[in-house]
Every structure is written in structure tokens, then in C-alpha cells.
Symmetry: C2
Subunit: 302 residues, 2 copies
């Protein structure tokens, strides 16, 4: 089944201990759609300025990503982010962010062909846009997952609360789960999020993996152990994208399928950080994903 992804498309300028890149292709929607495309056909909803290069569009088309929902706004500029990662690669600093077109009023462009989407990923972005997208769908999708972050927790609390009532699952990282709930224990925090609406929550812990919590179950996934981290940008977005791509491919939304998809998501996110921007994912093959998934399963068997 097709997966509908809404998220940002951006110019990223990145410094890491391994090197730097200027104005490379990035954004939560771009990373998520690209990662999902290894598993299922993807429909992307986003907005860019007229400075968005057609070469970047082509890189997404190569993965057969449907771009009918990507609005190119005349007279506007694309979101641009400049950031620097520290030696430990877990911490980063935003040196500059220019919201540009993302700071303008935005009503997501949802083509008629997207409206019956059964699997929807609301990749990291404004809960206002997320709600706007959901309102344009023909019916409630079979599975909707939203990714959020500290900025929206702090600045859009009401929209986020409303969004939490309309989605099936929330993805966020551990510090954000604590911020959203005021709980110090991450698992307690995740449990509190379930009370806000979602049937499940997936908490990402960076290089320490992720866990899934529903009212019935808890599941643990370590991160894929990597010594070759070049650029952590998009790790969370590619995780979310691969997760929902694998679920849409299976056509299932039960907890066992979600956990199996989390393993695939971990593997794809692990590949993603081995290169700047989309560089590593652009050479990635399905055979590599399967092979690493098998190794990963072995690593966790006792």
C-alpha cells in the first residue's frame, strides 16, 4: 500500500567531525520519504521555494516518490538549516535557521490521488500542518503516526494535544517525552502519553535504540552498532519513514508488525547516518537492508 508522508524539504548546511556540506538536500519529509521508498510507494506532501533545484527533485523521483503534493511556491525561498555536530555526535547546535516558506501560512496540498491513503506519516513538523493534512483526507487512515520535537511541544501545545487525539502512534525522543509529560522516568513518560490519546508511543533514544509502548506491551530495540557515523542528520526522520514504509508494505498495523518494522527502521536509520545528506541511502540496496537485518536479529538473540 502507498504511504502518505508530510514533512519538510530543506537545504541543510552541516558540519560534523567527518567534514561538512553546504546546502545539501534535507528535511524531515525528504528523509522520511526516501527511507520509506525502500519498502513501499510513497506520496510526499511538502512545500519549497522557487529556489528548489530540479536536480533535488530528480533525486527523489529516482526512488519513484510521488511529488504531486509538493508545492513550489513562487517568490518564496526554501527552508534552510545550518547546524554543527559536536565530537560525540549526539549533541548538535543550530547555527542558523531560515524558515522562509515554512514560516508562511501553509495549507498542505493534498492531491485527489492522495486522499484515500491508508498509512500516513506526519514527519517532524508543525502539528498545525499535521491537523490541516488530516482534515483533507477522505477518511481516517488505518494507521497514522506523528513525529514531534521539543519546538512544537513548547510552542504549539494546544494543536499538539488535539493531534494526539487524532493519531494512532506518536514518535519522539526520550528527552521530548519527558518534556511533554513532566515525568523523569522515560517509561513513565511514555505511559502518560498513552493517556493523551495514541494507542502506542515509540521513544527514540539515539545511539541507544528505541522502545515501543502500548497499553498491552513494551518492546525494546537497540540501535544498530555503528562505528561509521558521518552525519546524524535525518536519523530520526529516516527511522520514522522506514518504519511506516515497512508497515504500509505489509498492510498491517498490529503491534507485532510495528515491532518488526522498528527493526527495519533501525537498520535503515543506521545506514543513513553513514553518509552526509541522502548520500548513503542513495547507494543502499534492499539486499544490504536484509543482510544487516539478519545480523541485527542475531545480535539480539539469547
Amino acid at each position: 500500500m502507498s504511504l502518505l508522508v508530510i514533512g519538510s524539504a530543506a537545504f541543510d548546511s552541516i558540519q560534523t567531525p567527518s567534514g561538512s556540506r553546504e546546502k545539501v538536500i534535507g528535511g524531515s519529509g525528504v528523509y522520511a520519504a526516501f527511507a520509506a521508498s525502500f519498502f513501499t510507494p510513497v506520496r510526499l506532501v511538502s512545500v519549497v521555494g522557487e529556489d528548489w533545484p530540479s536536480a533535488y527533485t530528480e533525486r527523489l523521483r529516482k526512488r519513484a516518490i510521488d511529488l504531486e503534493g509538493v508545492e513550489i511556491r513562487p517568490g518564496a525561498k526554501t527552508l534552510s538549516w545550518t547546524g554543527k555536530y559536536f565530537e560525540n555526535l549526539n549533541d548538535r547546535e543550530t547555527l542558523e535557521i531560515r524558515l522562509n516558506v515554512m514560516g508562511e501560512e501553509y495549507s498542505p496540498l493534498v492531491p485527489e490521488s492522495y486522499r484515500d491513503s491508508e498509512f500516513v506519516l506526519l514527519a517532524n513538523g508543525s502539528p498545525v500542518s499535521h491537523l490541516g493534512l488530516l482534515a483533507k483526507l477522505a477518511r481516517r487512515p488505518r494507521l497514522t503516526i506523528a513525529d514531534t520535537m521539543d519546538f512544537y511541544i513548547q510552542n504549539c501545545p494546544d494543536s499538539l494535544r488535539e493531534l494526539l487525539r487524532q493519531i494512532d502512534g506518536l514518535i519522539l525522543n526520550d528527552s521530548e517525552a519527558r518534556l511533554l509529560t513532566g515525568e523523569k522516568n522515560t517509561i513513565t513518560a511514555a505511559r502518560r502519553i498513552l493517556e493523551m490519546g495514541p494507542a502506542f508511543v515509540i521513544v527514540k533514544k539515539g545511539e541507544n535504540g528505541a522502545f515501543y509502548l502500548s497499553r498491552q506491551a513494551i518492546r525494546l530495540i537497540p540501535a544498530y552498532p555503528s562505528e561509521a557515523v558521518v552525519d546524524p542528520t535525518g536519523a530520526g526522520d529516516s527511522f520514522a519513514g522506514a518504519l511506516m514504509g515497512a508497515l504500509a508494505a505489509s498492510g498491517r498495523s498490529d503491534s507485532e508488525s510495528i515491532i518488526a518494522a522498528m527493526a527495519r527502521a533501525t537498520v535503515v536509520a543506521g545506514f543513513n547516518v553513514e553518509g552526509f545528506s541522502l548520500e548513503r541511502m542513495e547507494t543502499l540496496t534492499e539486499g544490504e537492508i536484509e543482510s544487516r537485518l539478519n545480523a541485527f536479529r542475531t545480535m539480539m538473540t539469547f
Copy 2:
């Protein structure tokens, strides 16, 4: 098979967000021996002062721990540690440490009945004592694991280097692995430790689990997800003790057995932190361990 444990016995005074305790029983040898005793007979080597209460001795005897190797030094006082845990429970501050008898010259007391031990745990402590113990054994044990920490890495580098050539496995936490090797990536750091002698290394990551690395394999174990952490003291020591207890019980030292033992160690360490000092382990049953181990296995299956 019996397990020989060398480590400290101490008075701990502990403050955590859940409460506090004064002069309770603690020490790396105590925690490790206690945790190991759920799996196998344990022989403890340690040294205390004449202020060591017989009631504490009795609490170890209840678990059938052989205390013939525990020296009670006349005129000396027992090691005493006072510490405070912060809200996140991951960070702690040592408010006071009185080495007392542990600051004196120490030649480990190794009774004749201990000398043929095949499984040896050098619980957190001075590598000088560790080397002293190994020198008194009748032959090289089948499996020797040492636990170390930042203090010894910084203050006894030469003894530690020598120790690394005499043991089969090293246990330490992630920041200590980076400190020992100067490597920023934890897995790369673990790989460097293998070059120093041990056949394998186990890196503990606190609430984020642990991993095992040998020249042939890497295995990942998440921590048991707990919302009921009362006192993290002894988490690493009980992990190491249960690990070696389970291995000694199996009589095996191959990597598959080590990984299975790491899962048991994770479960026992998870129980240990649910109470102050030995309080939770003192009520723990083998049935509880088995039951949680099965739940843990399910949490990691995909």
C-alpha cells in the same frame, strides 16, 4: 561450579530521590557475590574492619556465600562511602569516601579451598589486588572477568594493562571504555580494548543496556525497562555477579553462554535497583528471575 569473587565490602550511606539510608551493607564484592548466589555457590574474598557487624555477615551467609576469604582486620575500619544520586538517577556525586582498611596494604586472603576456582570475578576494585589474587590461584581459571572503573584507569594504568593480559573478559561502562582508549566511538573503544589482551569486552551503558564484543561477534542487550528505580547503587556489581554466577552454573565460557548470562545479569541488576542496598535482592526468588527473563526475551523478539 563455584564462583570466586574478589571485591569490596562497605558501609554505604545513600541519598536518592526515593529516600536515604545510613551505613547500609554495600561494596562491589558484596553486591556481586549476592547476585551470583542466585545461580551458583559463591566464594568471597574481601577485607573489612573490626566494625563490620556480624548481622551483615549473616545476611551473606543466608545466601550460602562462603566467607572464608573475608579478612576481618583488627584495629581497622571498613570502607565507607557516602553518595547522592540526582533526579535523573544516572548521575551521582560522592559526598565522602573513607578508604579505611581498603587504603592499607592488602594481600588477598585465598583459602586453600578457593585455590582451584575455575570461574573468577574480579569485581570493581584495584587491579593490584586483582593481580595479587590471580597469583595465589593454583592455575589459570577457565574464565576470569574483571570489572574496572575510571579511578583505576587513571591511577593504576600499568597494573591495569598487566591485568588485561591475564583475564579473558573486561567489564566497564561506556565512558570508561572511552577513557581507557581515547576513542570517541564506544564500539571502536571496545575493539581497541580487545587489542590490549581480553578475548571479549562487555560495555555497560546504564539504563541503555550493554553490549558484548569479541573478535568474532557483537551482541546487544537493552536494560530491563524499569519505572521503579529506588537506588542504582550496585547495579554494575550485581550485573557482573549474576553474569559470572550464571556462567559458573553452566560450567561454560563460550560466547553464546556469555550472552545468555548477560540477559540474566540484566534482569538481576534490574531487580537490584528496585530497593536500597540488598533489600530487593533479599526478597528475590529464582521464580521471579525466570519470569522476568521470559518477559525480557519477548520484549526483544521481532
